[in-house]
Symmetry: C2
Subunit: 361 residues, 2 copies
């Protein structure tokens, strides 16, 4: 029983650290928060449009029609644009495309929480930026350096364990962490219209991959549950793994070193390296997706390039060219020039989150 | 028509270079050739055993029984060893496990042919080892340095083009190249018993991947045709890819730089990184497969670890501890210690190649 008491004590200490960490996370979120109304009122024409069988959370606009038309063209035998099932590859960005990324990427909130949790084992962090800033209660300073500092925090806090152990840590965190705006688990903040699109594509013989700047194992912890996407269909930023025998038992250890940054040109590179085929449909929401969309557009035959444009400050967020998180600038220009499909969230999505709707079953 | 003549001339020049290159390849093969009889006589008990419906090219020995028993255990609902279909992952090495690797890896023969083909565009090669040795007609010297020199040749001759262009080059080479012992295309030299095993596993709900030290794009050029394995199921040594826009057209260029060496510990590392699940069955034939087999063995539940032991100098080759190509030494000891399944090619395979058998249909 002494062990149990010890465990309880350790558990309480962890809880204490965790609650401190959550406060820090909220501080980050506050620091990054966009201004604007946060009421959950719906746009005027959503509800009437979201009632058909196909893609019911999409409003009845040209955007939904463009998706349905494309799928019909590539799946109808005899159509000049017909694509055999084995070649119907679709790739989706994750943050900001399939789930909420504002005011700060979910994985960054997780990493900041972990800095506080792991600080006792890393005394040097107290005096080393960017960790010192987080531990001093100023995570916004740690993140001000942009992607490099964020990657440093992620690598340091996501290393030294097996992928399995790491995924369990992510699971545990997701079970208690809440997005401050909605006070809901982050996995509630997946976009219902995009879930329907993933299902719709799979039903039409598409092979659906996630291709995201997020870390592969961070996503694998929950993408099967949230999106019905298996681990082998998750391509992300990856850490180096190191194989070793620990007392005769083979283990793989996550090293604090990046093997691949799955952002910008890294996306088509990883798609080719891992899948070995070119998507016929791709969806993103930021400049980090531009090269994936260009690569998709560059193939022969019918193609669909989509961008989620965050235009709805009332129900979600409104941002594009002027944000550090999910900036959509060059890709928005490219979409206009090449006539790619831009989803206007406010106009095209009748429902954004499943929890908005009355339960139907 | 002037163009056509120019093209013909270029074509003849290519043919000339190609025939010179083939002579070089044969020299390598000769240099590496193992001694021993080359007659194609069959072992005594093969033919009578290879007549059942399940795995017909396998002799009726405990090895075939072990495979069939394992598959029955993991696929029978209610069995304590039952594994749901989505978790039936099988990984296979390629060289020496699925096709012939002696006297020299096929990809090395291809690379040596390419050194001669590409030499005009790389004048420095005439004086730079290991290329100079190949161009001077001594490929065996170029290969004497072991894996590092081989990788250098492969990287230099497999870079600067798109994966598609490279795969077309591989296709063209395979169409005319012949293994000197059998005077047949290399893709004829896949092992019939292993083809049957791949099919047998897929029919029982297994997801079959190739996990090989060979270069991913080299394999992807022909693995669908030869093994019915799609590009996304081929994991190999990979070159860095670089995305760029060429006159507005997005391309991916193979760089002369390795991203991942898929050998030894690199195999379980890539399996976890790309598939994100642990195999329940793995097959290899050399020490380069040891860590993949250990990783497979280290999982919970029923497991199958297999090694192809090349014991048949009459029908194929006989080698294990004393070869530079496909050395089987530590992995053979590990198999004995842990009771993994060792396929004795001479005893366990009634037929090795499809072309040995009279046509049945």
């Amino acid at each position: 029983m002494g062990d149990t008491t010890g465990a309880d004590h350790a558990h309480m200490a962890t809880r204490h650290r965790a609650s401190r960490a959550s406060a820090l996370a909220i501080a980050v979120v506050a620091a990054f928060a966009t201004t604007g109304a946060c009421s959950l009122e719906r746009p005027a024409r959503g509800p009437t449009a979201g009632t058909t069988d196909v893609l019911p959370s999409w409003a009845d606009t040209p955007t939904r029609q463009a998706i349905v038309d494309f799928v019909a063209r590539v799946t109808t035998e005899g159509s000049p644009d017909f694509v055999p099932p084995g070649e119907r590859l679709a790739t989706f960005d994750n943050d900001g495309t399939l789930w909420v990324e504002h005011p700060v990427y979910t994985e960054v909130v997780f990493a900041i929480d972990r800095v506080a949790q792991l600080a006792a084992a890393h005394p040097a962090w107290r005096t080393t930026p960017p960790f010192a800033d987080i531990l001093a209660g100023h995570p916004e300073r740690a993140l001000a350096g942009g992607k490099q500092g964020i990657l440093e925090i992620i690598m340091a806090t996501h290393a030294g364990m097996t992928p399995d152990q790491f995924e369990r840590d992510v699971d545990r965190w997701l079970a208690t962490a809440r997005h401050p705006r909605w006070d809901r688990p982050y996995t509630d903040l997946v976009y219902q219209p995009m879930l329907e699109l993933l299902t719709y594509l799979r039903r039409h013989g598409f092979d659906v991959y996630i291709v995201s700047g997020g870390e592969t194992d961070f996503m694998r912890a929950w993408t099967r549950r949230a999106y019905d996407v298996a681990p082998a269909h998750v391509i992300g930023t990856t850490a180096v793994l190191r194989f070793e025998l620990q007392g005769g038992v083979p283990v793989l250890i996550r090293e604090p070193k990046l093997l691949h940054v799955d952002d910008g040109p890294g996306k088509p590179e990883a798609i080719e390296r891992i899948i070995g085929a070119r998507p016929i449909l791709a969806f993103g929401n930021s400049d980090g997706d531009l090269e994936m969309l260009q690569w998709t557009a560059g193939g022969r035959g019918a193609r669909f390039m989509g961008l989620v444009h965050h235009t709805d400050a009332a129900r979600e967020y409104a941002y594009d060219r002027d944000t550090e998180v999910g900036r959509l600038d060059q890709a928005l220009d490219a979409a206009a020039a090449a006539d790619w499909t831009v989803v206007d969230m406010k106009r095209d999505w009748a429902t954004i989150f499943a929890f908005e709707r009355p339960r139907e079953r």
